[in-house]
Subunit: 338 residues, 2 copies
């Protein structure tokens, strides 16, 4: 291996929205796998909102990326050298290869892909972490019942689009929130959502209320902020709120002005008997096989659809990631590596 | 029946803390039961924090008491006239007789008491709504595991004291929060709590942290406000918060000053995978028999203790109720009717 390994490292912790200055492209030698390791050639890199939180020093469910370290991320990769009995050269896998051309792995967290069964990029989206996030959060915490109303934001994204489609498969009404008329048209026209609301509209809160005449029974929370404020008064008694992400606040540099509305939220929790529960997909790791079987089946049968937004070149990942946090992508954002 | 029925009605909705001016003692004729009804002579009236919310016009899980209507409340009563086949004259029952000497009932919500089995006042406390609130909220939502830390405020009250004692029976550590050294001594000295923290102390938040060296796994929320603020940073991953009451805010006339900390709370929900769930005891009505059997058994076996604070005279109910909201009572607050 005389090739160069290009990698994107965290250059500085952003205060506010991340931009190119917070990343640095470095070049180094391709590492050599030791006994029990494989060398991965990353082919596709997944960009996901959680990465913004890893760029911060704040404590969360996972340790922050250190300054100078390679940015973390899921990749679809090819095994190009192997000293691991389970992963021969030539195998295609999904794992956590990070923002770089090559990565070493001891096999932990690698999953073999069958390129004949589904396009390999689906392992980063509808059949990967985002899809499993939607599936486990909605079914374990949201538990939609037939006839109930399920609301999800970022609904044209890989998590939200599956939340709405699974809600429909379970007999519920699906109301999606997205940015702009094109994404809204996609939700109702292609994905079968019952209604789609543009959060950029001045009448957003009224539009949402009009789309939920029976109130909201499940709100899949992945954005927070103004969307949550509009949802809160519409929640029905015994509504369930899987709290999956709060992307609108990931780059916030200060709290919103007062008054302090924690008492408003807690009174709603009490009066309406709300169920709020935070989760990350790995809390439900034991359900991965069930997820792959059920969602894989729906995908093969054409009962669910998905969309990918694939950009070219590792060097473009920082800008694409900044756009992701602003909703610039349309579909699962993936970087195709050279 | 030539007797007079004295009743306390809601005279005005309080803005802030309730006082005598919000109630009015009225006298009227004792009503006559029709076919299918019984006449109850109330003997004991339960005073509970939830009544403050019924005095407000704000929407909640139950309709507000109308101005001029008799205040609602649970009572232990004697059947003094009956046209109901299930409830003969002389029977002692617990029901919703309200703040008055006499009440009519169609039998709905009445439960026969056996005065030989337990003192009848327990049907308003440890074996009544407060006890069942503690039992159902802790076991269904809190789900304490052996070795975990359970924190409850208003811990010398009828709900909190049972929460802590059941937590101990389930093998968890119990940390109680109460107002003043006398109540704190009662928690550790008589009820077996592992620690008791005085929320009136200037060092309250530090004291609580010191009493929870392994963090908090279950926080049974019945007060809100400053106690919740002290609890939030101590919560462990996957902590459960049964939200039962928010008494510190029931008389608040405005929200606390900013910034708006909803994002702080929601980030904690997400990062720590918290489970917040509001409930009222009747959500678990189907568990009443199990509650009576299990807690009744613990009481007979001396494995749990309880304390009552009984005051005399319907006319003293308003003042006693105002004191309840300030933590002036010590034990389950009950009014003995003449």
């Amino acid at each position: 291996m005389s090739q160069v390994n290009r990698r994107i490292v965290l250059a500085a912790r952003p205060h506010g929205e991340p931009n190119a200055s917070h990343f640095r492209l470095e070049e180094g030698r391709v590492p050599t796998p030791q006994e029990g390791e494989v060398l991965l050639r990353n082919r596709y890199l997944s960009l996901d909102p959680y990465m913004r939180r890893r760029m911060s020093a704040a404590k969360s469910y996972a340790a922050p990326v250190a300054i100078g370290d390679t940015m973390v991320g899921a990749t679809v990769a090819e095994v190009v050298a192997s000293h691991h009995p389970d992963h021969p050269v030539g195998e295609t896998v999904v794992g956590f290869g990070g923002w770089q051309d090559f990565a070493l792995s001891d096999g932990k967290g690698l999953r073999r892909l069958d390129p004949a069964a589904a396009p390999v990029t689906t392992a980063l989206g509808v059949l990967g972490m985002p899809g499993m996030t939607a599936y486990t959060g909605l079914l374990n915490i949201g538990r939609p019942k037939p006839g109930e109303t399920v609301v999800v934001a970022a609904a044209a994204g890989p998590v939200g689009s599956l939340v709405g489609q699974i809600a429909k498969l379970k007999g519920a009404r699906a109301v999606g929130i997205a940015g702009g008329p094109e994404k809204c048209a996609y939700l109702t026209g292609e994905l079968g959502f019952d209604a789609a609301i543009d959060h950029r509209s001045d009448s957003f809160a009224d539009d949402l209320a009009a789309a939920c005449p029976q109130g909201i029974d499940v709100y899949f929370e992945n954005v927070g902020g103004a969307v949550f404020d509009a949802v809160l008064p519409l929640l029905n008694d015994f509504a369930r709120l899987p709290v999956c992400g709060l992307v609108s606040g990931y780059s916030a540099t200060e709290l919103p002005p007062g008054p302090d509305r924690i008492p408003v939220l807690m009174r709603a929790v009490l009066s309406k008997r709300l169920h709020l529960q935070g989760f990350i997909v790995w809390d439900f790791a034991a359900q991965e096989a069930a997820f792959l079987e059920e969602v894989g089946g729906w995908l093969r049968e054409g009962r669910i659809r998905h969309r990918e937004d694939i950009i070219d070149g590792l060097e473009n990942a920082p800008d694409a990631f900044a756009g992701l946090l602003k909703g610039r992508n349309f579909g699962k954002l993936i970087v195709k590596l050279a």
